[in-house]
Amino acid sequence: MSVTAAQTPGASAVAADSRPSEPPANRGTFGRLRGQRAGMAGLTALLLLAVLALAAPIVAPRDPLAQDRADQFKAPSLANPFGTDEFGRDIFSRVVYGARLSLLTGAVAVLIAGLAGVPLGLLGGFFGGWVDALTMRVLDFLLAVPAILLAMVIIAILGPGSLNAMLAVGIVGVPAFARLTRASTLALKQRDFVLATRALGVGPFYLMFRTILPNAVNPILVQVAVTASVAMLLEAALSFLGLGTKPPDPSWGSMLNTGRSFLHQAPWYGLFPGIAITGTVLSLNVVADALQAALAGEGGTVNRTERGA
């Protein structure tokens, strides 16, 4: 279901808290975004993570898959900042490489959810009728199933694995994009500028994609951040349950899953991948809140689906 944190009065109130003072309206969206310290910090953290992921071969001191029995369960040290795991692999290197998978999952999921959800919402909102009603009922139903359970069922059908986990997580994100775009489309299609464009005699697809969509972009932008956050969390949860990325590939979720069995010998094993996930999700959430606040003046509404894990 989707109790959607940001539809709730509390969420917007919390977002407003982080705003020190109302910035002047003429600073533009980016100016307003820059005024939000938490949001900028989150954005910086994400950029840093992206750089780390891209430069993984340079940053990581060791091959994430290289095993060395002699190095088994070494506590964090200068040589192994995050310690080593049950095969003597360097956990720091594995966390750095894990960022690649996590960011890729976020990107792929947003692409799937957006490319399927936005057109669905545009078509439904624009044409209405029974097709729209049926699509929305189906999407409502998908929203009603807890995200992690929906992802698990999709995995049950497709089979476990990295790629299928990304696909599942992307599908889970479709209804939110569709609902959001549909709501904007419904509101926009009655506006004068759309009616005027229609009066010029342009076709429905031009109206939808060239006239309405550019004006519905704000809430979609916020949803991109929200979906990426939910997607990374869900992928980690699936891998944690053994339904996503399989060992030995480094994924934060599956590292925690393995680390769970060795908490006695190696408590650090259960620590660092978790810090990585939580930090990333936190950054994305803060960026989403800041974006929403910065775009608020322009009629943005967010539909944050329940996070899955």
Binding site: V3, R137, A144, I148, L149
Partner: protein, 314 residues
């Protein structure tokens, strides 16, 4: 009220029908023969033939659905191919176990959320009020599976205060059951506690600005009774709905929580079934989850209408 209940029940039917179609369709979405999907790879030709006939695989799809729905309505949820046990029996064993965890998690969530939400609304600018914001942000970002590991590390392995796995029915040994439930309930309840605290805060802030609260203050009531008696009571109405709506978050969370704490509930059963491709069990569990979810939404709406008569007449 009676008319409202009937109306809501009628509105439920299409949702339940859609849910049943979705759950039934799952078997047919799996590549390959649906009968093999249900019975598993090592099945005798006779069993396969019987299953095919039972499912009516030679009939049109709507007929197959009707056959299946007919059996489900009579309580026949099929047999697990792994354990050769009727799925109904398995569900009946697991549901009370998960219910115990969910109730405990709900209590934990309420116990954290109520004071935090009230504090944040009454003293938003104090350090305590700010701490609440930090707690909320953290509790919403920290993944359930990592929180569980942290709790095990700290309270289980480091301090050795609490057991980290196992289950005892509450009525058999309440003391031990509570000790076993604390860590899983905290793990499962943390996220919901943040959602509820946000909501309580927002709802209370809204009621505090109402005229009748100002009146209560103006006639010289102490702040404690202004908040406690006048504001809180009305603020709690929307909070009740949110508690109901969080059931979905609980259902998702149990899968992970039960995996961490080796808790023998519905979530573990579902996870095992997915890993073993035991599709009858997956189907039945999903059906149960969706039906319960819809039912709880209905109960929440009814409770809301009962608490706030304006809903019924709107």
């Amino acid at each position: 009220m009676g008319k409202y209940i009937v109306l809501r029940l009628v509105q439920l039917l299409p949702v339940l029908l859609l849910a049943s179609v979705a759950v039934w369709l799952m078997i047919y979405l799996i590549p390959g023969d649906p009968a093999i999907a249900l019975l598993g790879p090592d099945v005798t030709p006779e069993q396969l033939a019987r299953a095919r006939e039972r499912m009516g695989l030679d009939q049109p799809l709507p007929v197959q659905y009707a056959l299946w729905l007919g059996r489900v309505v009579q309580g026949d949820l099929g047999v697990s191919y792994v354990g050769s046990v009727p799925v109904r029996t398995m569900l009946a064993q697991r549901i009370p176990v998960t219910l115990q965890l969910t109730v405990a998690a709900l209590l934990v969530a309420l116990a954290i959320a109520a004071p935090l939400g009230i504090l944040a609304a009454v003293r938003p600018r104090s350090w305590a009020g700010r701490l609440v914001t930090v707690y909320n942000t953290l509790a919403m970002a920290i993944p359930t599976f990592w929180l569980g590991i942290l709790l095990v590390l700290l309270f289980g392995l480091q301090l050795k205060w609490l057991p980290t796995s196992g289950f005892v029915p509450f009525w058999e040994d309440p003391g031990r059951a509570v000790r076993l439930l604390i860590l899983p309930a905290l793990t499962l309840g943390a996220y919901v506690s943040a959602v509820l605290a946000r909501f309580t805060r927002a709802a209370l802030l809204e009621t505090i600005s109402q005229d009748y609260v100002r009146t209560a203050r103006a006639k010289g009531l102490r702040e404690r009774s202004v908040i406690g008696v006048h504001a809180l009571r009305n603020a709690l109405i929307p909070v009740v709905t949110v508690v109901g709506l969080q059931f979905g978050a609980f259902m998702g969370g149990t899968v992970i929580t039960e995996a961490i704490f080796d808790y023998p509930g519905l979530g573990r059963m579902l996870l095992q079934a997915i890993l073993q491709r035991d599709y009858t069990v997956i189907q039945a569990t999903m059906l149960f989850v969706v039906f319960t979810f819809v039912l709880i939404n209905l109960l929440t709406d009814l409770l809301y209408a009962y608490l706030d008569p304006r809903i019924r007449y709107a």
